[in-house]
Structure formats: structure tokens, C-alpha cells
Symmetry: C4
């Protein structure tokens, strides 16, 4: 019988590294998934850059973003865990979340300009991309989402959507599974790049119709394109020498060693 | 006697990888060639990202985009085969086709702004670059070219030209042979980059005259520059560790193993 | 007992290489730190590109930018040492300095357009980024900061701030320690990229409030994010084969060999 | 006694590769140097991409761009040799020349917008950058400089300067020696990038004064910065696995083997 939790840890490490190697996450940002057997828990690395995450770095949290068991000595969790916990609470169909400060999103995050789907892959941004400004409810903060009420506010802003822009900060992306999440993170980013490239010309972008967007969204999420893209990104990880080893996936828990 | 089909499979895998490593094709897109001995057939990889294609992945199709023989178990073809089949049917002098969503083309694909040859290498876009909008004939679709009638419509839009923009989707490029195709795919892309860079300044681009464009087109397609560029791209593939092995080129057919 | 000077030389070589590999410094530019035991001295490489610096290249200077001991035969120091010496003199709390000509800063350096913090990481530019024009006091020069009075003028322009733009030349960045310096150098650069990307759209950037900027500045400089980023950059150096060897760190002094 | 010609072949292969690896020359373009002992001859690779040039590829030509000795069987020279021959004839102090189609130059080449020195390194463009349009004297051509009279016309346009833009084609750069040429090729390119980045904002660039430009030009060409940059680029070549082997440098002449 396969150890689904070990596989989940390995997959989550891979997902962390893909979004880093493909240029969207740098030192900061994080990627989580819901626990494969316990929907009231989620998995996420200890506090370290996603490009560096190993299966053994993965920790388990309750949806209140409390560690499911005491953290090993010297291990620290991420500061913004409530982004993940509060969205998993609010949206049972979401099973994977990424938070990032990718450069091509930031001009939209700074100004509130609306993201629009400009090619078929861009349909992955979803019907609408809401815009959350922490100032509205919380006034001056360090802009990070640190308190449960901040996480809940962000989850409310996300509403029924799959991507939310966070003013002067970054973006949070959601998926029904890890592959879909990585797919959405990457292609929503390419769409943002495209919108910047188009508007920098002074050209008026011409978005997909709602009908096109719905059909393209469905098509992109079929098993064949999802599998094809996942194979592509994993192969690129391997060629870059960035594929995580399965070592430590089974033992779990942030490199605890006896 | 050399096995021309084995060589064709190897060359096609190389072409797939060049356009990927040079930054034009990502997880999606595809590159085909007409069968070297049977002009009523074409060769194209099974459904996988062009950067990953091996000679053994190459399948054979009729011009109606039906597999020339039953696909091995578990092997899937690309969804948009009719792009290739319908253009090969309509244009006997075309022997190689690439379909891509390269970022520098997409602002033109989104808005319909006209591509113009802005330097001698850009003459490879041809006299005119037609613009095809799937909405005109087919209304809301997922934007992919999946049905034979969609492929035929695109082939009609291409007309006597060598490059066609596909609204909110990407581009399809054609060549008389694989080297010419790769050359046109890469230098039409550089020309698109140049046009964006120029127009982002608010500067008025100054295209080649038709006479210059014709003379530069001819010059670029002479054997010496074609061979020089092919050697360059192949060497870069090798240095990147991306050159495909000839293994499987002879046996053919998507990694069938006995 | 650890040799703090050997460690300092190794850390300084690492810092030199990080800002190079992350794309901010090319052949020119330099990074220094105050001597860990003698605040009236500073450490900086002999004249060579930061990407190439080894611990054994590190030299020791007085705050008047005189070599603390005679330079080994054939070894030359950087031309612009007074940037470092005069700022260390004027600002006792500054213990690390980088001078660079990173491309994303240069449009601001050329025109005097004001840098603004546009996301939480950009708070690292500080409250204000002063702008120094060598022409004001010194008329036509080669634009380098070569004379003590030029260094003093620049230090006065920096005032109580942490980053100063130098007209038609580049930028000088300061930190309380080497990690903070690298952090500020990189994230002030990303913020400059973001401001260019935003303004190239014709969009009005929306900076952090002073309250947000202060809170984000403090948060970024806490030990956890500082350590996380340093681990990330060091790992990337190692993967790129760019991590310096500790060889020569102890012996000190620009590859002197007995 | 060192074999100065063998050294020249090696240095020329290195220069070819530096300008390629630093992103300025792709499949096309070429770099030459005057023969170190016979000023009426020049050295340049057989027709192949500069990134691939080996010392054994270097051929010798008269200033009329005739091979100094019959080319080995199967070896072809570049098509645009007269660019090099005619400039060496017209300007005895020029000892190295590069011709390229670097992307950041092309918007200037297309439109005739004037390049201006915007930072101290940009002073290497020289006092003025003339603009040559082949149409003025020769009407519609393939835009390449193939005939002696075209080469002479370009040399006249260059006049006493060090860089000339060629309309809808590219640029030709000159230096008193190979290091200076590589330095000018790279930093004139960075300056072009800077001017595009600045003007894309709608900002008015503020060039160096003539006095500043002269002083910065002189300073950049001093032995220390020249040696520092050369060491940097050579080290990067080595790390990229692109440094040419000296093999064949002595034998000379495009891989002739007995």
C-alpha cells in the first residue's frame, strides 16, 4: 500500500520548486496542500525558501494554523500560515494554495488595475480576480497576513474565486489539487506578463469572452494538458538538478532525526 | 542506404527542442514535418512538450489527421492535429509546421496589431501576416483548433503566406523544410520582440521596403546562412544537454517496445 | 576560538558573489564591510569583479582609505575606495556598503525620478532615497568618486539614509551588517524594477504609507526573514558553482603566499 | 619566443565567444582583428556563429577581403567581409571590429533615434554615433554589406567615430585593440538598454556633458578597468564551459589538417 502522506510530501516539495525554478517565487512565498487523508489539516514547509524545500521539511497544521504536533527544536514555521488555514476553512473544494510576490503581478497589486484573460491559457485566472487592500480593515500594517482575522478577511475577499491580489504585497492562488495549483500559478503569471506587454504598447487588450474563458478553463483542466504540463515542469526541475530526493518523505516532519 | 525516416524522426526531435530551448515554446505547442517519402502523411510527436520530444515519440498521421496505424496502448496524440493536416493538404510546398504561444507574439495575437519586418532577419515573416479570429466563424470556443473545419478555416486564413496569427491564442508558422521552419519561427519571433521594443518607446517603426524584404528573404534562405544557424542551434542544444539521442529513431512509433 | 576575521573574509566574498549572481553587479562595482574588531578599518577586495572575489582577495584599509599595510606586489585596490571610507567615517552604525550600476536603478540615476516603496519588500529603500549629482560641486568629472572630498560629498548626500542615487553613475547602498546590506541591495533593486514596470504602463504607482513602510522595514529585518533569504542566496550560489572556498580566508591579504 | 599569431587566434576566438555569451551576438554577426604583424591583413573566423569559433577557424584576409591563401576545401568565409576590410583600410588606428544585430540596438537602427551616453560606461559609444542607411546610395538591397563599395560607404559613414548604426540591419563597432572592442561592444549595448528603459517611461534622458563623456571614455580605457573587465568575461566564459581550447591556434587556418 503506497504511503499517501510520503507521496504528498514529495509532491509538495516538487510543487514548491517548480514555481521557484519557473521564476515566480524567490526567497519568499510559500506553497501548501490539504492533508490527503485529514481535510482538517494542511501540509506546508517549515520556514524556508520554496526553491529549497525537501520532503522532510514538510510540517502538518490544523486549519487554525496550529502545528499538529510540537515543532522539533529549532524549527520555525512560516509567519503567514493563516493565509492557508483560513482559506482551507472557508473553501472545502480548495486543496492547494500558493502565496507569492511574482514581479509581473506586482504592478497590478500596486495599482489595482484589473487582470483580464488575454489568451486561452490566461483563462486560468478565473472569472474575476478580486483585489484585497489590507488598509481597508486593518490600517497601517507590515502588509503581511499574520493574524487570524487578517487571514479571514483575505479569504472573504477571495470569495468563490481562485486568485486574489493583495495590495502592495502579492497574490494568493488556489487549486483543487496541486497540479491545478501549479498550472494556475504559472499561467496566471504568463497572462499578467502578456497584459503588461500589451498595455506597455498603449494597445487596448481584447479579453476572452466569458464563454471562451469558461470553455478554455475547462479544457486546460482536462487530464491530458494537466499531465503534459506536469511532466514538462518536472523534467525541467530534473535537468536543473532541482528535483527533490524522496529521502525524508516518509519520516516526515522537518528533518527530525533520532 | 540511410534510413531517411529515422533521420527525419531525429531531425524533428531536434527541431522541437531548438524552438523550446531558444525560448519560444513552453509546455504547449507542437512541431511537425511532412513524411519524407509519403507526401500524404506527416510526422509529429505524441502529446508531450516539445522540449522533451525523443525520436521514439514521433507518430505518423494521414493528412486527415488520423493515425497511420493504431496508436500504442496509453499513447495519446496532440489535440490540435488538424492545424498540421489541413495546412499540409492545402499547401503542397509546405513540409514543416510549428504552432506556438510565444510571449512576444501574443500582444499581436490579442490585439490584431500588424507585424512588420523591421530588420533583415525579420523579412522571414513574409509579405504579409494574416490574422485569424476563431470567433468569426465558430463563435465562442475553447480557442484551440480541434475540428477539421477549424483547421481548414485556419489554412484558408494562412492562404499563400507563411505565418498566421490566431486571435487570443498564438501563431502557426510554416516552412518548405525543417531548417527553414526553425529559422522562420525564431527570426519572426525576434522581429516581434523588436517591434514591441520599438513601439513601447512610442517610436514609429520603419519597415523594410517590399524590395528589401524580398531580397533579404532570399538571402536568408540560401544554404550558407541556413547551415550556419542550424549548426549554432544544434551546438547550443548539445551544450545545454538537450540534444536528443538517436535511440528509438529507427524503431519508430512512440516508444513502442516489444 | 573562531577566527572572526577569516569568517568575515569568507562572508564578504559570499556577499560579493550573491549580488553578482542575482544580477545586480557586473564587471564593475564593489562590496565592503567594516573590520569586525577594529571599527576604524574596513575590508574590501583588491580590484577585481565582485563575482570573482575570493576570501584571499580581501584587503584591509583605514577609514582614510589607505591600505592598513603595504599592498603585495602587483596588487591594486579599487579606484573608488573613498565611497566606503568616507561613509564608514560619517556613519558609525553602518558596517557594510555596496556600490553598483545595476540596470534597473540607472533610469532613476539618469533622470532623478524618485524611487518609492511599492511593495512590502521595497520598504528596504528607507524613508527617502537622496540623489547626488557630482556636477553640483565638482563640475565635469569622469563620474567616478575618486577624491576624498568627492567621497565626503557623497556621504553628506546620503545623510541619515541607507541608499543614495549617483547621477549618471549608479547607487550606493548601506547596511548595519552584511546580510542586511545584501537584503537591501537586492530588494531595493526589485522595487526599482517594479516601479519601472508600473510606470511603463502609464499607471500611477501607489507607495506604502510611511506607517506601512516603517512596519515592513522592521519586519523584513527580523532574524527569521534575514536568515531565510541568506540561506536562499547561499544555496543558489552553491548550485551555480559560485560559492567561494574558504581557502585563503585565514591567511588574508590578496593571495599573498609565502 | 611566443607565437603572437597563435595568441591572436586564441584571443580572437575568446572575443567572439564573450560577445555571444554576454548576449549581444546570436547565430549571425562576426568579430575580426588586424593581423598582429602585418597591418595589411586581418584575421576572422570562417563562416560560423561567433559563439562556436575555435582558434583553428581563424582565416587571414588582405584588406581587399581576399583570402591571404586559398581557403581549404569546403571552408567558406563570411559574406560581409568588406565591413572589416574597408574599415581597416580607412582607419589605421582601428585594430579590431565587431558587427552585430544585438536586440537593444535594433530599435535605434530601425528608427534613427540617436544614442546618447547616459552613464559613465556609456561614454564608450564615443562623441557621436553616425547612422548609415544603405538605401541612400544603393536603393533596395538584402541589407547585408556584400560589395566593396558598400563596405567603403559604411566606412565613410563611420568617419572618425567608433560605432555606426546600420539602418534596418545592426551595428558595427571598432576598437584600437580586441579588449577595447569587446569593452565598447558590451558597454555601448548596456547604454542602449538603459536608453530604452528610460525612454519607455516617457522620461527625458539626461546625457553626459561632452566633458564628462571625454573624461569617462579615458578612464574606462585605462589598463586597470580594461584588465578587470577582461578577467571577468573570461572567467564567465570558463564557468559556462565556453572557453576555447588553444588546440589548433598554432596550426592556423580553419581546421586544415594534414
Amino acid at each position: 500500500m503506497p504511503d499517501s502522506l510520503a507521496q504528498a510530501r514529495l509532491d509538495l516539495a516538487i510543487a514548491n520548486r517548480i514555481v521557484s525554478v519557473e521564476g515566480i517565487i524567490d526567497a519568499f512565498g510559500h506553497v501548501s496542500m490539504r492533508h490527503p487523508k485529514r481535510p482538517d489539516r494542511y501540509l506546508i514547509s517549515r520556514s524556508r525558501s520554496p526553491e529549497l524545500v525537501e520532503p522532510a521539511d514538510i510540517l502538518e497544521y490544523t486549519l487554525d494554523s496550529e502545528p499538529a504536533r510540537p515543532l522539533p527544536k529549532g524549527v520555525r514555521g512560516y509567519g503567514e500560515l493563516v493565509i492557508h488555514g483560513e482559506i482551507y476553512k472557508a473553501r472545502p473544494e480548495i486543496n492547494a494554495i500558493a502565496h507569492h510576490h511574482g514581479m509581473a503581478f506586482l504592478p497590478f497589486c500596486n495599482t489595482g488595475e484589473e487582470l483580464k484573460p488575454l489568451y486561452h491559457m490566461g483563462a486560468q485566472i478565473g472569472e474575476k480576480v478580486p483585489f484585497w487592500d489590507s488598509r481597508d480593515e486593518f490600517g497601517d500594517t507590515c502588509l503581511l497576513v499574520l493574524k487570524p482575522e487578517e487571514g479571514r478577511s483575505l479569504a472573504r475577499a477571495l470569495g468563490p474565486h481562485w486568485l486574489v491580489l493583495m495590495r502592495r504585497h502579492g497574490a494568493t492562488v488556489a487549486g483543487r489539487n496541486l497540479t491545478e495549483l501549479v498550472f494556475r500559478t504559472i499561467y496566471s503569471y504568463r497572462n499578467a506578463e502578456l497584459q503588461l506587454m500589451t498595455m506597455a504598447q498603449g494597445w487596448q487588450p481584447s479579453p476572452l469572452t466569458p464563454g471562451e474563458a469558461k470553455l478554455a478553463w475547462d479544457r486546460n483542466l482536462e487530464p491530458r494538458p494537466q499531465a503534459r504540463a506536469w511532466e514538462y515542469w518536472c523534467t525541467r526541475l530534473k535537468k536543473a538538478g532541482e528535483y527533490p530526493s524522496a529521502r525524508g518523505a516518509r519520516g516526515g516532519g522537518a528533518r527530525r532525526r533520532k
